[in-house]
Symmetry: C2
Subunit: 507 residues, 2 copies
């Protein structure tokens, strides 16, 4: 950003307004963080109201016609600037957000939000009771509302496009579908080949690992990775997430299972990946729409890069395994590094997306993405969804859920949000993670050696320079092109999977 | 509150607006709580801005002329209701707050707030460096601003009155001064008499008491007292406080010193007293100006009643001391109950208000109150304040601070807020606590026996019924009259002190 004196006065006015809106949104994020970490049960009712109030105020202030007028007044100033300057980017990204926000009527947002809250509650019970029928009418209404939402953005190519654009601006149903079809074609035979091999013994991960010691170890790991505890902290929660209240306060949360070393450790590294992205954004962007990850896919690329490409790699554990053994001498003292490495990379045809390994994970995601599109297109009815779900699990993963709780009811996304745009980011992120990692290794071949020595600086700096610092200045497609010199493709990911798991499973 | 259907539509509209304002203020309180408990250092800069933004929005929304119009429109409805009805009270208290808020220009608030922040920073350094001269010009400006603030409320009897009214509505400089003069006259000879007696040995409190065990014990205690952990929680902080985000979420914070059992335990009970008040407010008042303690004095009466009248009493420790010994067998196993009881009630002429015992505490407070009035009246200049301070310590407490750090620089109040209205609440609270406790014991003489058995229900219920449930419906003076049948006086407090410490010090 230019200094105050040099900035266009209208841009200064815009930034003042955006900063106020950002403050309100940050307060809402803190209300949410507190709800998920420390809030006593009695606070729930008021908390829901407080969150709704703050979000409503932020929305009202952002869709104020005065913002539209400022953006219009700044048009010629914007064209006078280099498009990749910070100021031009701020005006461009704000305009994009503004134009989207004003198209959605306030009463629709209220209706949708009300419906989501109700659906969530019905779903939580329906999942426990394994009763899809109970939530079906709610999901039908969600589908209707999702279509209504899409139709506030006429002129789309596919009805899912406006919904996908919310999370992954620039991506479209057709192109994602194509990419995913290719990926699926490659992955299914790999999974089949692996399934024909002897099963890896992962029992070393399923001993008793006391919570406090797991947390102590994870914190040591993520500090080494570069997570800045002066600008962040970790707390416990039910469903781990990353959130931020400013570029100086980027927090993560975790969940520990004492009988599963995978859960706490890798979810901590996963959320740290998200946090490194946010901590790395240019601090001059503070309190503007540029301060943040650019898309759901690029964000997920960072959590998955650190979790999988780094955290589940041999060089990483060459360095950390002796420390882990020292933390858990009784449990792991006699377990060889190779046994541990194989255990954390075990591939399995399983029913639950969030427990899936690197190879099968994207199959879970793509099933959901395809079903979302079919629902929106009207080629699949909500009442037929469980059957379609089970059918796809049979064909893609070779297993069939014994019930809907382990099937179509497992993920909160459709039951707490909309249908459309909820899942593609996960797989886009995995694809990008491999493409970014490959580019970093090509630029700095010694990264693997450094990782073996517990040094993550070169990798972290490459990511900061090529991705993190830019915040939302560039779209996902632009970032991929800038950082890797190529458009997004499945090749790096498939190459990575073939190399790593080919070796592990002697394919 | 009446149900929605029966409420006057204008009152419904007012309540909707008040609820929105309350939500914003609650979010600001959470931003503050987080800053004082968990926020990483990097969050500080943005947090200050976020707090200022939320408070500004809340203030703007509350001083909106539409609120004034609604209050005017509701005038005749208000007069048609019984004055002590919930609805009439809501309109009355909202009007009082509104009329005060609109008299203070927004630019003054901004100037004052900016000045306070600067003064606080200068003070923090000046206190460490024992350098009053460094902060003197800031304090002179604070005095000027405090006078300016008072003068937004012309027609006062004493210039401190509008400042006192902010914390203790209904109280006036003249009447408080009179009450305090009487109290001082009674207390000074008592302190002198005690000082002539042998010093109590409190060394049993100054052994090593590990933090975690202190916290565990305190939590057991306050649960017994009636603190509802479903609607609250305790966290650690630098300066203990109570805060609330709704009637269902009333939190306390604490600070532990491992070489002083007094600090953590009694500050926890103190904050619990504040919290019991807030947890006991009629929940129908949620999100309105009626939901909260009615004055600084009445609030302090509850923290002090639970901390001192209950927490430092023999019956209380008859029940809890065996448990405390079990928690700290090595430290207290051989210490008799009576030795412990005497230690926690040791009277001492000391320099620091926050460490003072029940007998001398009010002398500390009244020195500050008198000096505030003299500063505002212009009979004392800021540059002469340290000398006046030391002189009063000599005459009232018989000791002289060795330096300003242990004297006039010790409390944050004047350096982070205004001069005037900052201190009277502490002593008013002590006086009220004795008057309330006396009335409760008169109504239920078996309260002491119940406390010996670890049962606090009768006392807690009496306080709920007579004080807590009313929230801000009645003024402090009205609450005292309603609960005790008499106007506030020093007699119950002096009687309590004479009885308790007369016995302890064989006077």
């Amino acid at each position: 950003m230019q200094t105050l004196e040099k900035t266009h006065p209208k841009l200064q006015e815009l930034k003042t307004r955006l900063s106020e809106i950002n403050d309100i949104e940050s307060a809402a994020s803190l209300l949410y963080w507190d709800q998920a970490t420390y809030m006593p049960p009695g606070g729930a009712a008021a908390r829901g109201r407080q969150l709704a109030t703050l979000r409503h105020i932020a929305h009202t202030k952002f869709t104020d016609p005065a913002i539209g007028q400022l953006l219009e007044d700044l048009s010629s100033y914007e064209t006078s600037l280099p498009p990749d300057s910070d100021e031009a980017s701020l005006i461009r990204v704000t305009r994009r957000d503004y134009e989207r926000a004003v198209k959605i009527p306030a009463d629709f947002t209220a209706r949708f939000s009300q419906h989501s809250t109700e659906t969530y509650e019905v779903w939580a019970k329906a999942r426990s009771a394994n009763d899809f029928a109970a939530v079906q009418p709610y999901l039908e209404k969600t589908l209707e509302l999702s279509r209504e939402l899409a139709n506030f953005f006429p002129g789309y190519e596919h009805i899912a496009d406006p919904l996908i654009a919310e999370a992954d601006y620039g991506m479209k149903a057709t192109s994602v579908r194509e990419l995913f079809a290719e990926l699926r074609q490659q992955l299914v035979p790999i999974v089949e080949a692996i399934s024909a091999q002897p099963v890896i013994d992962a029992s070393c991960l399923h001993q008793h690992f006391p919570e406090a010691e797991q947390i102590a170890f994870s914190l040591k790991v993520i500090e080494k990775l570069g997570y800045d505890f002066q600008r962040g902290r970790q707390d416990k929660t039910l469903h781990p997430f990353m959130t931020k209240f400013s570029t100086g306060d980027v927090r993560i949360t975790t969940r520990i299972r004492e009988n599963d070393l995978n859960e706490g450790l890798f979810s901590t590294i996963h959320e740290t990946g998200h946090a490194l992205y946010e901590q790395g954004v240019n601090r001059d962007f503070e309190a503007t729409p540029l301060a943040g990850g650019t898309s759901s896919g690029v964000h997920e690329s960072q959590s998955r890069l650190w979790e999988n490409m780094v955290g589940r790699s041999r060089p990483f554990w060459k360095f950390f395994y002796p420390q882990l053994q020292a933390q858990f001498p009784q449990q792991l003292g006699d377990v060889a590094l190779e046994t541990f490495y194989r255990a954390i990379n075990k591939v399995e045809r399983s029913l639950i997306r969030t427990d899936a390994d690197e190879v099968t994970y994207n199959l879970h995601v793509m099933i959901r993405f395809d079903l979302e599109l079919q629902l929106l297109e009207g080629t699949l009815a909500v009442r037929d969804l469980p059957q379609a779900w089970n059918e796809r699990y049979r064909s893609d993963l070779g297993i069939v859920p014994p019930n809907d709780a382990h099937g179509v009811l497992q993920d909160v996304h459709w039951y707490g949000g909309m249908i459309g745009g909820m899942f593609q980011g996960y797989t886009l992120g995995n694809l990008m993670s491999a493409q970014f990692f490959q580019a970093a290794l090509q630029a700095h071949p010694h990264i693997s050696t450094e990782i073996e020595q517990g040094n993550f600086d070169t990798l972290h700096n490459w990511l900061k320079t090529n991705i993190y610092q830019h915040g939302r200045k560039y779209t996902a497609a632009e970032i991929v092109e800038l950082a890797t010199g190529k458009a997004l493709s499945i090749e790096p990911f498939i190459a990575y999977i073939r190399r790593k798991f080919g070796e592990l499973y002697s394919l």
